[in-house]
Amino acid sequence: MNRRKALAVLSGLAVGGLTGCSDPGSPLRIAVVWSGEELKRFRRFVRDYHQEVVVYSGGEDIAALLQNPAGPDVAIIPQPWLLDNPKISRRIQPVLQPVAPTGADEWQKLVLAAPGTSASGTAADGNATGPAVQVKGVWFKVTHKSLIWRGPNAPPFSAGPGDGDPASGCGEGALPSGCEGGWEGWLEHCRRLARDGTPPLSIAAADGWTLTDWFENVLLGISRETYAGLLNNVAGAWNDENVEKALTSLATLWSIPGLVPGGFPRALTTQFHDSILDVFYYRNADMLSAPDFAWPVIKRYHRPPGNPPAPKPIRFPWPCGKPQPPVLVGGDVAVALGPGRASAVDFVKWITDPRGGVEGLKDWAREGGFLSPELSPDVYPDELRDLAREVRTPPAPSVPPGAFDLSDKLTGGLAGGDGKGLWRILTKLFIEVADDGARGSGCGKPVAGPVARALEHLRKSAG
C-alpha cells in the first residue's frame, strides 16, 4: 500500500499548495512586457507598495493577455492604442489625475479618456482636489529612441552643423556646405570609417525592433507629415514618396561595405545587448543606434570598468535642410483593469503620487535607463538629462516635438514580431543590401531593387 500512501501525500501537497491561490485577499497582479534587468528593477520598485504585488512578464503576448477577462489587475503596456481595443477598453478603469497630460506632443494625449467616460464610476475619488481629469492610464516610463552612442574609440561626429570630410565619391557628389553634420555627412563619415577598417556601426538585426527604430528615425527626419500619416493610419500613407525616400536612405547606409562587424550574417545573430557589447566591450564597432535604456547595459559592460564609459549620446542624424531632428518616443502606460478591483486604481495613482511611488521612480531614474515624464530632469545622470527634457509632460519649450513609435501601432500584416510584419520586411531589406562579411570594397550593392521589393511588400501588407 506504499503507492497509495504516496498518492495521498502527493494530492495533499498539491491541494495544499492551491488553497492560497483562490484567497479573496490575493495579491495585485501586474503584467508588464519587460524582461531581464528591467523586470528585476520594476520588481524592486513595487516592493515599496503597501500591498503584496505579483509581477508577470507577458512579453510580446501582452495584447492577448489583456483581452482575457481573467487577466491582470494592472498592465503596463508599450502600445497605448491597445487602450482603444474594444475588448480591452471595456475592462479599463479610468483614473482621476490632478493634472492633465497636455503637452504639445500628440503622443502624450494618447492616455486621455474620451469625453463622457468620466461618469463611469469606479475611479471617482473623493480625495482629488482641483480640476482633475479622467485618464485611461498613466505614463509610467518613456523612451527616447533617436540616439547614436559612440564607443570610446569612435572619432567625433556631431549631428547638426559640424565638420566632415566627404571624399568617398559614393554619395551624390559633393555635400552642400553646412551639411556635414547631417544625414548625408554621417553617411560619408561611416563610409570613411568602414574604408579605414573599423566597422562604424553595430546593428542588432536579430531583434527586429531595432531595425524598425532605424526606419522610423530616418523617415521622421525626412518628413514629419508622412510619419504622422502612417501613425494615424491615413489611407494610402505607405504610398507617399517619402516612405520610398526613407527606405532608400536607410538601404544606402546599410549597403556600405564593412558597415557592421561580420556583415549581415553576424548582424542577424546580434541581439540588442550584443550590439552594445560590440561597441563598448569588444570595441569592434564604433557606434550604435539605441534608445536611452542602453545606458545601464553600457555602464555595466564597458571596458575598462570604472571610468565613465561614454560621451553623451548624440542625436540621430537628420537630412540636410530639414529644420527639426527626429525625436522618436516610446512609452509604457500603466492601466488599471477591471472589473472591480479598487486596489488596481490605487496602484496606478500611487505611481505618480509624490507621497507614493515617485521617490522610487527617482531612484530608478538616477540609475539610468529609465525616463519618466513625471520627474524633473535634475534627477537623471548627466548623460541622460537632455533626453529627459525632451520627453517630459509638458515638454520644455523649444524642444523638438516627439513622435510615438510607429511599430507599436501597426496591426495586421505589418504588426511586428519575430519573422513577421515590418520586422521581417526590414530584415529582408537589410540582408539584401548589406555585405556578407567578406570585406567588400567600392560603394556597396545597388539598393534600388531591394528597396522596390520592400516597398511593394509594405504596401501589400498594409492592405
Partner: protein, 590 residues
C-alpha cells in the same frame, strides 16, 4: 541467478516495450470478469472519457471554426500562397517540419546503432550508458535550446568556436540547423537506445543459431530474423520520436535568434506566430492540418504494426547462450565517445551557472577568473520570483500526475480486464492513440479565448496538462495490465469482485512511470503555457523564455535556472529509474 536480477531488460519480451498501441484484440486474453452488465465497464471508462473532453471539445471547436469562417476553402487558402509575398506561405514551415521528421528517423537509426554496439555491455556499463543517454530525454527542450546555444555561441563565448581555428557563426543562417538538430538528437537518442536495447536483447537467438548452422548468410539472417523481430520495437520508438519531431517548438524559440527563426520555422511555430494575420478560419484550418499530419504519422505506424505484429505467445524465459566474445575495444570506443558528448551540454550549463553574469556575457567557461561561489544563481533567484514559479510549476505537475493516475487506471482496467465489446475497444484505443500525438496547437485557438477566462490558475491548467498526458498513460497502463499473470486476477473475478486493486498493485512500476512521465511533461511544458497566456505566466519555463530575449546578458541566469529546472526531473529519474525501466518495458512487478 536469474538474469532479470542483473538487469531488468533481459526478461522483457520483444513486443511489450512501451505500450501496445495496436487496436488488435489481445490474443493472450487476460482473465475477464463475466458478472453484471456492461454499465460497470463504462463506469470505469467514464472518468477518462470526461477528462478527454477537455481535449475533444476544443479540438472539435477548432474544426468547427476552420469550417465556419470561410468554409472548407480555408484549407485550400492556407496551403496556397496568400499575398504572393511568401509571408504567409505555409510551405517553407512544412518543408522544415519534414526535415525534422527525417531527423527523427535518423535519431532512431542512431539509437539502433548505439544499442547494437553496446549489446554486450556489462550491467554496470549499461546502467551508466542508459543514464547518460536518458537524462536529456527528461530535460526540457528549452534547457536543450539554452545549452546548445551556449555551446555554439559566437567566439569568444562559444565552446565549439573556441576549438575551431576560424570562427563560425553557428546561430546564423544555415548553421542554425546544426545547432537545433544536435539538440534534438541529444534529447531523443537515449529513448531510441533504451527501446532498441531491449529489442535487440529479445531477438530469437535459437533461430539465429539454427540459421548459422545451416549456413545462412549474414544479410539473410538480418532480413529474416533480426528485422522482423525488431519491427514492433522500431515502430513504437519511431512513433514517439516522430511525434516529438512534429511537436518541435520551444527549442527553436529559445535556440535561434529572432531574425533567424523563420529560416527554421515549423508548422506549429508558424501557426503560433501568424494566427492573427491568418484569421480565425485559416488559423484553425492550419491547426487541424497539423493534427492531421501527426495523426497520419501515428496511424501509418500503427497500421504497419498491426499487420506485422508477430504471434503473441506466452512469455517464456529464454535460455541464453553466453555471447561470443567480441572485441572490447569497440565497446570502449563507444563509451569514450558517447559519454562525454552526451554529458557536455550538462557540464557547460553547470559550469556556466557558476560564473558571474557579466563573465558569462563576455567570455567562455574556460576563463577561470569569472567563477564565483554564488555564480549566476543570485541573478537567477535573487528576487524570489523564479523560486515562486518553480513551486507553482511543481504544484501543476504534481496535480496533473495525480489526476492522470486516478483517471487512467480505471480506463486501462476497463480496456483489459473487463468485458468491453471488441468494436468499442478498438474505437477507444484508436482515439487514445490519436489523442496521444495531438499537437497542443490544435487546442490553442479555443483555449486562448475561453470566454470566462477558464484557463486561469494552477488548477485549470493542471487539468489541461492531465488531459494531454492521459492518452499516453492509458496506453502504458493498458499494456502493463494485460501482462498481469492470470492467476493474480482469477480469484477476485471468480468471486464477482473487481480485480482493479490487484491489477494496479501488480503493475506498480507502470503506475509510477505514468506519474513520473506526466509530471515531467507538465514540468517542462512551454507550449501550453504560451497559448493560455496569463495563467501560465508564473510558470518556470515561461520565465526562462522571456529572458532569452537578451540571451547574451542573461545567459548566466538562464544557465542557473536551467540547472534548477533540470535537477528536478533528473533526481526523479534517478530515484525511480529502476521502476521506470520496468514500467516502460514490462509494466509489472515481476
Amino acid at each position: 541467478m536469474r538474469h532479470e536480477d542483473v538487469f531488468p531488460f533481459e526478461g522483457a519480451r520483444r513486443h511489450d516495450v512501451f505500450f501496445d498501441v495496436t487496436p488488435h484484440p489481445d490474443m493472450r486474453a487476460p482473465a475477464k470478469w463475466h458478472g453484471q452488465g456492461r454499465w460497470r465497464i463504462w463506469g470505469y471508462l467514464l472518468p477518462a472519457i470526461t477528462l478527454a473532453t477537455v481535449l475533444l471539445v476544443p479540438l472539435l471547436w477548432t474544426v468547427v471554426l476552420s469550417l465556419r469562417e470561410g468554409g472548407p476553402a480555408n484549407y485550400l487558402d492556407v496551403m496556397t500562397d496568400q499575398d504572393g509575398l511568401e509571408d504567409l506561405s505555409v510551405w517553407p514551415p512544412l518543408l522544415h517540419s519534414a526535415v525534422w521528421l527525417l531527423l527523427a528517423l535518423m535519431v532512431c537509426a542512431l539509437g539502433l546503432g548505439l544499442a547494437w554496439l553496446a549489446r554486450d555491455a556489462g550491467p554496470r556499463q549499461r546502467v551508466l550508458l542508459l543514464s547518460v543517454l536518458a537524462l536529456p530525454t527528461v530535460t526540457s527542450p528549452l534547457t536543450a535550446g539554452v545549452a546548445f546555444r551556449l555551446i555554439f555561441d559566437v567566439s569568444p563565448r562559444g565552446t565549439v568556436n573556441a576549438l575551431l581555428p576560424a570562427p563560425v557563426l553557428f546561430t546564423g543562417p544555415g548553421w542554425i540547423w546544426l545547432v537545433l538538430g544536435s539538440a534534438f538528437v541529444w534529447q531523443w537518442t537515449g529513448l531510441a537506445f533504451l527501446v532498441f536495447h531491449v529489442g535487440l536483447a529479445n531477438v530469437p537467438r535459437d533461430l539465429l543459431r539454427v540459421g548459422r548452422i545451416f549456413g545462412a548468410e549474414r544479410i539473410r539472417l538480418l532480413r529474416t530474423v533480426v528485422a522482423p523481430a525488431l519491427f514492433p520495437t522500431a515502430a513504437l520508438v519511431t512513433l514517439v520520436v516522430l511525434t516529438a519531431a512534429v511537436r518541435v517548438f520551444d527549442v527553436i524559440l529559445v535556440g535561434a535568434p529572432g531574425a533567424i527563426q523563420d529560416e527554421v520555422d515549423v508548422v506549429g511555430l508558424f501557426w503560433w506566430r501568424h494566427q492573427d494575420e491568418l484569421g480565425r478560419g485559416r488559423a484553425s484550418a492550419l491547426a487541424v492540418l497539423l493534427f492531421a499530419m501527426a495523426a497520419a504519422v501515428a496511424l501509418l505506424i500503427v497500421w504497419r504494426l498491426r499487420r506485422d505484429w508477430p504471434e503473441t505467445g506466452q512469455r517464456r524465459q529464454e535460455y541464453r547462450a553466453p555471447a561470443r566474445r567480441r572485441p572490447r575495444w569497440l565497446l570502449r570506443g563507444v563509451f569514450a565517445a558517447v559519454t562525454p558528448v552526451w554529458l557536455s551540454p550538462f557540464v557547460v550549463l553547470l559550469l556556466t551557472s557558476f560564473r558571474s553574469p557579466q563573465g558569462v556575457a563576455t567570455s567562455g567557461w574556460w576563463t577561470w577568473q569569472e567563477y564565483r561561489l554564488s555564480g549566476s544563481y543570485g541573478d537567477a533567484f535573487g528576487d524570489g520570483s523564479f523560486s515562486g514559479a518553480l513551486w507553482a510549476t511543481a504544484q501543476r505537475g504534481l496535480l496533473a500526475a495525480v489526476i492522470v493516475v486516478l483517471f487512467a487506471v480505471p480506463a486501462a482496467y476497463a480496456l483489459t480486464h473487463e468485458r468491453l465489446p471488441l468494436r468499442a475497444r478498438r474505437i477507444v484505443t484508436s482515439v487514445t492513440v490519436l489523442l496521444a500525438v495531438l499537437p497542443p496547437q490544435a487546442l490553442g485557438g479555443p483555449l486562448g479565448d475561453m470566454p470566462d477566462g477558464l484557463p486561469g490558475g494552477v488548477v485549470t491548467l493542471s487539468w489541461i496538462h492531465a488531459a494531454l498526458a492521459l492518452p499516453l498513460g492509458v496506453l502504458l497502463l493498458r499494456n502493463a495490465f494485460a501482462s498481469v499473470p492470470r492467476p493474480v486476477v482469477l480469484r477476485p473475478l471468480a468471486e464477482g469482485r473487481s480485480a482493479i486493486r490487484r491489477v494496479t498493485t501488480e503493475s506498480g512500476p507502470a503506475v509510477v512511470t505514468v506519474a513520473v512521465l506526466t509530471f515531467v511533461l507538465t514540468w517542462n511544458d512551454l507550449v501550453i503555457g504560451l497559448m493560455t497566456n496569463w495563467s501560465a505566466a508564473n510558470q518556470a519555463p515561461l520565465i526562462m523564455f522571456q529572458q532569452s530575449r537578451f540571451f547574451t546578458t542573461s545567459a548566466g541566469a538562464l544557465a542557473a535556472q536551467a540547472v534548477a529546472v533540470t535537477a528536478v526531473p533528473a533526481l526523479l529519474l534517478f530515484a525511480t529509474g529502476r521502476w521506470l525501466v520496468r514500467g516502460l518495458t514490462q509494466g509489472v512487478n515481476r
